[in-house]
């Protein structure tokens, strides 16, 4: 068992996400909550080595949120590790705010790329991992992609290159929540076994319960130890995880909470 209290940190992250979105009348809570445990372990388990004093260091670790619409999870995560002031969350989605609904590179330290158009993050991560290798530094690159996002062909174009180059400093985490914008993956393109797909492209793959902190920690540890190429962790998740009325419900890709729903969500996330 880990000595880190991931459960409390993950619950706090979820409260921050729900509060940020409620305040802004924002969308995409479902996908932010589905990846909350992954971000918690990645940010607090010592995998992402943040340096708030030197956020632009050429040899820094990078976390790339490719599913940019779930920025509330990224922002809340950066607040939790001291890379962003908590008050910044109050400006999420506001007129002229640096905290766009879809992240803008450099708006705050730790917001490494501009994302929001799906299928871009992996190539950015691959380029960053390749650059780290050229520079001879041991920086790690983590790219979080949605499973719906993997409909984009650009993901697979680049997966082939990352594997071909054996970029062991690159880890892709697929938030496999099975729900995309207009339906279930099984109804849309039915990607099936995503580990098998990444394996076919040459990735080392792991399939885990994306809400089990111990399993996430173990998978990230194994990815670090794997030196023969990039790793893809297929994290089985539930969209809206942690808030009963949002769980596995398509509409929480879009909806924002009423005051009553917000109160209930916060109660459930205590």
């Amino acid at each position: 068992m880990s000595r880190i209290d991931y459960a409390e940190k993950a619950a706090a992250l979820r409260r921050e996400i729900v509060t940020t979105l409620h305040r802004a009348g924002g969308s995409f809570g479902g996908g932010a909550l589905s990846c909350a445990d992954i971000i918690t372990v990645l940010f607090h388990g010592g995998f992402m080595r943040f340096d708030p004093q030197w956020p632009d260091a050429p040899d820094r670790d990078m976390f790339i949120l490719s599913k940019g619409h779930c920025s509330s999870a990224l922002y809340a995560g950066l607040v939790s590790v001291g890379m962003m002031p908590r008050e910044a969350l109050e400006s999420y989605g506001a007129d002229g705010s640096a905290l766009c609904i879809h992240p803008k590179k450099g708006s705050y330290p730790g917001v490494e790329v501009s994302s929001g158009s799906l299928g871009h993050g992996l190539a950015l991560g691959t380029g960053s991992a390749l650059a780290a290798r050229i520079l001879g530094c041991d920086a790690r690159v983590y790219v979080l992609v949605g499973d719906g996002e993997c409909n984009e062909g650009s993901v697979w174009e680049n997966a082939a290159f990352a594997a071909r180059q054996k970029l062991a400093n690159l880890t892709v985490i697929v938030d496999r929540n099975h729900l995309q914008g207009c339906g279930r993956d099984e109804e849309v393109l039915a990607y099936g076994d995503m580990a098998e797909k990444f394996r076919a492209f040459g990735f080392h793959t792991l399939a885990i319960d994306g809400h089990d902190h111990g399993r996430i920690e173990a998978a990230l540890t194994e990815a670090l130890a794997w030196k023969d190429g990039p790793t893809a962790i297929i994290a089985e998740t539930v969209k809206g995880k942690g808030v009963s009325f949002m769980e596995d419900r398509l509409e929480w890709h879009y909806k924002s909470t009423t005051p009553e729903q917000y109160a209930q969500a916060m109660e459930e996330l205590r």
Binding site: P58, D59, M62, K105, E112, V113, S114, G116, S117, G119, H120, L122, A123, L124, G125, T126, G127, S128, A129, L130, A131, A132, I134, L135, A139, G153, S154, E157, N158, A160, F161, Q165
Partner: protein
């Protein structure tokens, strides 16, 4: 031009360890020397332009200087959204090198005709758009592109067979047009493969006593508005000449500028592809077909100056 560009990059890579050369399955018999000398800084992404551009942007995130080199049509159009979001929006210093814009692959057909790149690249904020007109330009452009803080698109064209490529425009500075011939009857702004055509037209017109001032307008963005204003004031007639569609390209850019200058009165004409997908043929044949060969240009000049 592409050979000159790649050779110059190879030379630069000896001095600047930050330059990384990426291609998307392009450069057979051109890039091998560079690849052999710099196996750690040369990568072929395969036939995958989106992957090429995204990866190049990722390389730039750590302060390296990526060059993304591939066929102009596939680079600018297949990967346009990666260019927009990953490169232009993030304002990363990526050198996008497009091989053979225009009609250099004329008889290959419309899939290989690149008549849209000037327009679609120049509407991207942060983007610089350059088409070297000769070998000297290419070498200078390679160095100056890598010194920029933001992204640049360089179109590496092919001059029409049989026309002399003008050498000796050593004054190449991104954003500054180069006047290459004298003349006060009309001025033509041409770039890339059309520069030698414009110079040939100037020779033909000189025989008839018409002085055509040719500008090497190697930079489509930022537009050298001073040169346009100067030409308009001194010649009274301005033409743009490009292989690209006259909508949106250099012709569009100059038209936009002139239309907003109430104090400038001059005749104006855009020469290029008149918003059509033209028939396939040798580059010189297409120019003739579209009336943008030297004779056609000369005729247009005479027409506009009356």
């Amino acid at each position: 031009m592409r050979n000159i560009f790649v050779n110059e990059m190879q030379r630069i890579m000896r001095e600047d360890e930050r330059v990384v050369f990426l291609s998307a399955e392009c450069g057979f018999s051109v890039v091998e020397g560079l690849e052999a000398e710099f196996p750690e800084r040369y990568y072929n992404l395969g036939i995958a332009e989106q992957s090429l551009v995204g990866t190049a942007a990722g390389v730039a995130l750590r302060g390296l200087k990526p060059v993304a080199y591939t066929m102009a049509m596939f680079l600018t159009m297949r990967a346009y959204e990666q260019i927009r979001v990953d490169v232009a929006y993030q304002n990363l210093p990526v050198v996008l090198a497009g091989v053979i814009p225009g009609y250099g692959y004329g008889n290959s057909g419309t899939t290989h005709h690149v008549i849209e790149d000037a327009a679609i690249m120049r509407v991207l904020p942060n983007m610089t758009v350059v088409y070297p007109g000769c070998e000297t330009d290419v070498r200078a452009a390679a160095h100056q592109a890598l010194a920029l803080d933001g992204p640049i698109y360089i179109g590496l064209g092919r001059a029409p067979a049989g026309l002399e490529v003008p050498y000796g425009t050593e004054r190449f500075r991104i954003g500054r047009a180069i006047q290459v011939t004298e003349g006060r009857d009309a001025a033509v702004f041409a770039y890339g493969a059309m520069l030698p055509v414009a110079m040939e037209a100037a020779k033909l017109l000189a025989k008839d006593g018409v002085g055509l001032r040719v500008y090497n307008m190697h930079t489509v963005k930022p537009l050298d508005t001073e040169a346009v204003a100067e030409a308009a004031a001194e010649c009274g007639a301005v033409l743009t000449l490009e292989e690209q569609n006259i909508i949106g390209g250099l012709g569009g850019a100059v038209a936009e500028y002139l239309a907003e200058r109430d104090d400038i009165r001059c005749r104006f004409k855009r020469l290029g592809t008149p918003d059509v997908y033209t028939a396939a043929g040798r580059q010189t044949w297409i120019h003739e077909h579209l009336g943008i060969d030297a004779k056609g240009v000369a005729a247009s000049v005479k027409e506009i100056i009356g």
